[in-house]
Symmetry: none
Subunit: 416 residues, 2 copies
């Protein structure tokens, strides 16, 4: 079964907002067994909307249209749909009740624009909206279903999950599509692809594989269509088992986690604590860790040691070592781990010192040079990396690498 999404709204086309609705709808329809054929964003323009409806309805079974249902002049979707389905707008008593109820709950009195909101095309099936004044609409034409919903995200989401998805499930009979996402960190995409090329070539034939790279992780998404959900999951799980035999230590999770989620999970499960001492990452590692709900159980605190004075006074980095090796050195990050373990009384410490840029580089230590150390009282492992020339990216690269190094340290894996 194929579905199309049409997002209507001038604000999308001028780049004023990111269209997050389409992602939400695509995900939900996909999980319901639809293949999303195309997402089309157009302005609040009657002619263009009709052109797109004509075009996409040739190829698809279901069209979900968001936006253009507000009470102002620039909203054109409802009248456009009435014209497209050759009908007229009529006052719907049920919708009027919803509108009255909504307006009253906000402490306003009903005005003409509100009443206009209760008019819907005569031949549509109404989908009620508890959180706003714009009703949803369901039309059918030549075996294609057209559904129109408002673009206010929380209104759309509730309508989709409460009413529309059950209506769709009832109307269409769809196959079982199952996706699994494997989260990896450690190898660049091309190296990963090489390592996995044999595995990839022998994948079960119905499986579709995608690489989704970012500075923080490379996601591998495996998808399959099968008669039953259990059978599809079984096939994917077998392939993921094989994958784990090849790059198991680089797999930090499944689904939609980040390295900080994985690390906090490991620490929490083992009842262990961590602290940070950051120079070039400037607090970003502490920020990533504390973004995780519940991180306070294992994260005790951190030092952003931007000046050398703080490195010596708080973290007890030796002035001699600083002078001899420089702030960006193996010796300094090792002492930064030792110092923080003492200061915070934590089980594990992370220390980073580098040249984030854009200035501060030398021929010996160019911008991007970064030392990362992780460890505990028994052992500290420091590694040198050369990232790029862009400050913000260097901070992101170094933060992810530091989190992964501690994950590998705790789990006993080789540190990359």
């Amino acid at each position: 079964m194929k579905a199309d999404i049409i997002a209507v709204g001038d604000e999308i086309l001028i780049g004023q907002i990111t269209d997050t609705n389409s992602q939400f709808i695509a995900e939900r329809l996909n999980l319901s067994g639809f293949e999303i054929r195309q997402i089309t964003s157009v302005a609040d323009d009657k002619k263009h909307i009709i052109k797109v409806l004509d075009e996409v309805s040739k190829y698809t079974d279901l069209i979900l249209i968001t936006g253009g249902l507000g009470p102002t002049e620039d909203d054109k979707t409802k009248q456009t749909l009435a014209d497209y389905f050759k009908t007229r707008l009529v006052l719907n008593e049920e919708v009027l009740e919803d509108v009255k109820h909504f307006v009253k709950s906000k402490g306003f009195s009903l005005n003409e624009r509100n009443i206009k909101q209760a008019e819907v095309p005569e031949n549509c099936k109404v989908i009620r909206n508890k959180n706003g004044t714009a009703a949803g609409m369901w039309f059918e034409k030549n075996n294609t279903v057209f559904i129109s919903v408002p673009a206010v995200p929380f209104e759309m989401k509730e309508m989709l999950e409460t009413d529309i998805l059950p209506m769709i499930t009832k109307h269409f009979k769809t196959p079982h599509i199952v996706h699994k996402t494997v989260l990896t960190y450690g190898f660049p995409e091309s190296t990963l692809a090489e390592k996995l090329s044999n595995w990839e070539q022998h994948l079960y034939s119905g499986i579709n594989l995608a690489y989704l790279p970012s500075p923080e992780r490379i996601r591998l998404r495996l998808s399959i269509i099968d008669d039953t959900k259990a059978k599809a999951e079984n096939i994917l799980n077998k392939e993921i088992q094989k994958l784990n035999k090849i790059i198991g230590d680089s797999v930090f999770g499944y689904g939609n986690l980040f390295l900080q989620d994985a690390l906090i999970g490991i620490l929490t499960n083992r009842n262990l604590t961590v602290s940070t001492a950051e120079s070039c990452t400037g607090g970003n590692i502490a920020h990533l860790i504390t973004s995780v709900p519940g991180s306070s159980a294992c994260f005790k605190g951190g030092i952003v040691a931007y000046s050398n004075k703080i490195k010596t006074s708080l973290l007890k980095v030796s002035e001699k070592v600083l002078e001899k090796y420089g702030a960006v050195s193996k010796e300094v990050v090792e002492q930064m781990v030792k110092g923080q373990l003492e200061l915070f009384g934590t089980d594990y410490g992370i220390a980073v010192s580098g040249i984030a840029g854009p200035t501060g580089g030398t021929s010996e230590k160019p911008v991007g040079t970064t030392w990362i150390a992780v460890g505990n009282k028994e052992k500290i492992i420091a590694r040198k990396y050369t990232f790029g020339t862009r400050r913000l990216l260097n901070i992101r690269f170094a933060s992810a690498r530091a989190l992964d190094n501690l994950r590998r340290f705790i789990l006993g894996y080789e540190i990359k």
Copy 2:
């Protein structure tokens, strides 16, 4: 001039990622004088990509295509474009140099997939990519320009701003559109709109005004089309002068700065220093400050005092005060400012303590309750805020508010 955007990628169609690239491109093209006609997202599917190219090229002057340029099997855009423009892929020495340089900078050795990345359609103009292995491509056909860029956001953004927009400006002759963006912080959008309603009603008639709100700032974008750039700028500047008379203390800059950029600018100009002591923001304020190039001149360091022990041992918060008022209190954030001024020897300090959520709230101090203090040796000002219920948003709200409070403190403005 009309432009279309085509976003290629299975991950968009299955709803695994939100397509933020199209918003960025739409905004930039719009600011360069293009009307974005349609944004179309399609899967990594050759037939469908070609169908969409055929269709949209009938109506538009410029097509910007993102995605599908990676080194793996699922990436189909490059071969598709070669077929569409009836040409073949050839190794491009310039791109190969870029790929070699990039791979080397990452500390890896060149593999076959990397070399494949250096192949481009024979008849395209190459757009170089400093941050990855996929080059951009420029084609022309029947007066329409087709540009293909990788979908990795930071690669695409740098290529667009550094090379592509200047190339487009040179190729197309677009009217003089002048934009000025006024950056404000302090009022919620509705209050700001009310304060500015009289100014807005009397704006010079050709000016288009847009409110662009986010947790970190509300941008007011004024746009005008005029015969000459100088005349257009003059008209906008006059209106901005009037605006400054109404909300001057809430205007922290122009263009695309954030509060941390404004604050670092003020501190650097006055040769002053700052430190941070963060509880609920968990290092995010230090991270924002150190994201600014050159911030090391005024930022000495920070403490992420997640546990109370760190508040008392490092920041000298009194145990009695902690016990009597709780960690989220006026007294504690005031002592956190005092303690850090001592510890770091800085001119100004920022301290934040709050309940980020999702748990930890009480009826007296619900999730979102946050105390922020800023000050120097002479004076400390603490304010209480009640943000929302979502952890990440609370961290963002509190961080921006803290940065703005110190900006206002230094400049002698009232703290909101």
